[in-house]
Symmetry: C2
Subunit: 374 residues, 2 copies
């Protein structure tokens, strides 16, 4: 039976749909792939732009199918239109993304279609980047590192005054640095959200974006993952800084995370299991005196994954370097970002992106790893 | 049978989920409302933050349910965990958003649940704004207008040089002005995407964001709809400018759109049908010599809706002021944004936001409507 891969969504939210069409739209449209050809069905507002911009074989007019459907019933629903389109081509079997609306799927099943869930992501080839995609990610990553350099300069120029960092006459806060980062990136055409600038207590919670004044002699985690407005590809990097001399405990922890990250960078290559890498780093940390465990009802140590696949989404699930058994493949782009978090010391995380090759990896751009800014 | 309203999604993408919880998260979590109480079930990374920030009655630990589920099977899936949670409370009937993953729904149905689609949006009360929501939207709208003022200043300061506008020694383009807008907004903590600065041919296509050099004596549509990073609520406004003297046809069209918009602002009130307003404006335009029709295979005239509901999403579907029969209610916030588009003249659109009251509307903030910048 003739199967079609079918997506109905907005391409500005659905990375698979953008991947398949290279067409950015805020309103939902019909896309399907059938007998090796890609189709889009567009309303009158978008049909011209789609013909110009979309990387598909056929752009069909929704109005055309509406006119046909209106011969059958006076108010055809969007499901009736989809039925009209698929009937026309003889499609009876639909493979749809797992996250497709169940109302849509129920409606298609009621019209006699066999609907099957595709894998996640829908286009598994997204995990293995083309040359062009690798280039786009590296371009984004270069902008991330230039942003981190800017942040380092700001911290460098700030003066230590008691328990505060004073920059241009004002006490520097997580919020202020986050705003500098997001504005800097916007000027370069990048959209950053949930940028992390966390210090002290906040830095111990890897999910906190950070709030309040930054302190000297304390770890400051800067984790930036913006999307290029032009290519739509993400960059993602983390550096941990300390303005002024760092306490010995923090210095030792930083050196340990740095070695752990180098261990990860040294292990990644096509064919290896992510679990092996993650376990090796966790064990190394434990052996260095930084165990992962529950302490007073919260986790301490290294309690997030080592890395995630990245591209058109910042986290391309479910490919991870963590306790799961994802096996790395050539062409994958992964973050390698171990961290350690203890309330008494602070948080440290160091993150780079790697392009996986047969024998190892290529690190996509780079920036020094140095804790203290003195 | 005990029904629960159930969402499993990320709150940074699902406005209903954010609306229900006021908790922003990039990873999916379980939310449900049962017997008048709101529940969230969070993993270890997020459970502390959720307890602090989320506006719900109970924050439960996912690990707690995982431990129970692991007594039944060694690798419980996320669906097994959901089953564990609902079993515990005696839930058998789930009302879920229409856009919920069909894989999730299939899995729940296989476990014996009756799954029913909720309305869209899932929380219909989103259409009727609270005082706080009204305030948030107005705050965002004020920032939008201050941005439009900035753009007007830039156009004012630019010099006309042949067919170009020269600003600070460089020919001004759609891209440059868009970047100024997006950076200006980011400095104020707002995220803008798909900002429209379209001129000439581009301005005739309401969906084009605009490309290339801006021209004098030609319509320039500036449509800005950013989201506040703080409140998450959108603003949305459009003004059309012309740097230098405008051709008579454009002037006449601008005056007509302005009158049409005033007509719309005068008609909106609780109880009226959106179709009535939309039809009145369309007819007015036709009577003024600006008919809506197909011309050489493309639409000209007024071929988009008059307005859309706005709040946590820029378009809160399906509430629209257009050919559909949505009946306005007190507390709705709608855009009123008629436009006219003819290849020979250009495009004109004027947009404000209104808060619907029993007897009419309150316009949320404002900015003059004047075409020419001379």
């Amino acid at each position: 039976m003739a199967k079609a891969h079918f997506i109905y969504d907005t391409s500005n939210k659905n990375a698979d749909l953008y991947y398949a069409t290279k067409f950015m739209a805020g309103d939902p449209f019909i896309f399907f792939q059938f007998k090796g050809k890609k189709y889009m069905v567009m309303n009158d507002l978008e049909v011209d732009r789609a013909k110009k911009e979309a990387k598909v074989d056929h752009v069909l007019s929704l109005t055309h199918f509406r006119k046909i459907a209106e011969k059958r019933s006076s108010y055809p629903s969007k499901y009736d239109l989809m039925h009209e389109i698929f009937q026309d081509l003889g499609v009876k079997h639909l493979i749809m993304p797992q996250e497709s609306s169940f109302l849509l799927v129920d409606e298609m099943r009621q019209r006699g279609y066999l609907v099957e869930a595709g894998p996640a992501p829908f286009f598994q080839e997204r995990y293995q980047k083309t040359k062009e995609e690798r280039k786009y990610i590296e371009q984004s990553q270069k902008v991330v590192f230039s942003t981190i350099r800017m942040v380092r300069d700001v911290l460098q120029k700030s003066r230590i005054k008691g328990n505060r960092l004073v920059y241009k006459g004002k006490a520097l806060s997580s919020e202020a640095v986050r705003s500098m980062i997001d504005v800097y990136l916007m000027e370069k055409g990048f959209i950053a959200q949930e940028t992390i600038v966390s210090c002290g207590k906040d830095s111990v919670d890897p999910h906190s974006v950070g709030h309040g004044l930054l302190k000297p002699h304390s770890s400051i985690i800067v984790d930036i993952f913006p999307k290029s407005g032009k290519t739509q590809y993400y960059g993602d990097a983390t550096r941990t800084f300390c303005r002024g001399k760092a306490p010995d405990g923090l210095k030792r922890m930083y050196a340990t995370v740095k070695k752990g990250q180098e261990m990860g960078l040294g292990m990644v290559k096509a064919g290896i299991s992510g679990k092996k890498i993650h376990d090796a780093i966790t064990t190394f940390f434990t052996n260095q005196g930084f165990p992962t465990r529950e302490q007073k009802g919260r986790m301490v140590g290294f309690f997030h994954g080592t890395g995630h696949s990245i591209g058109l989404e910042v986290h391309e699930e479910p490919a991870r370097i963590n306790k799961s058994d994802y096996r790395l493949r050539a062409g994958n782009v992964f973050s390698v970002e171990p961290g350690l978090y203890y309330p008494a010391i602070g948080g440290v995380r160091i993150e780079d992106l790697v392009y996986i090759t047969k024998g190892g990896c290529e690190i996509l751009s780079g920036y020094p790893k140095k804790l203290e800014i003195i």
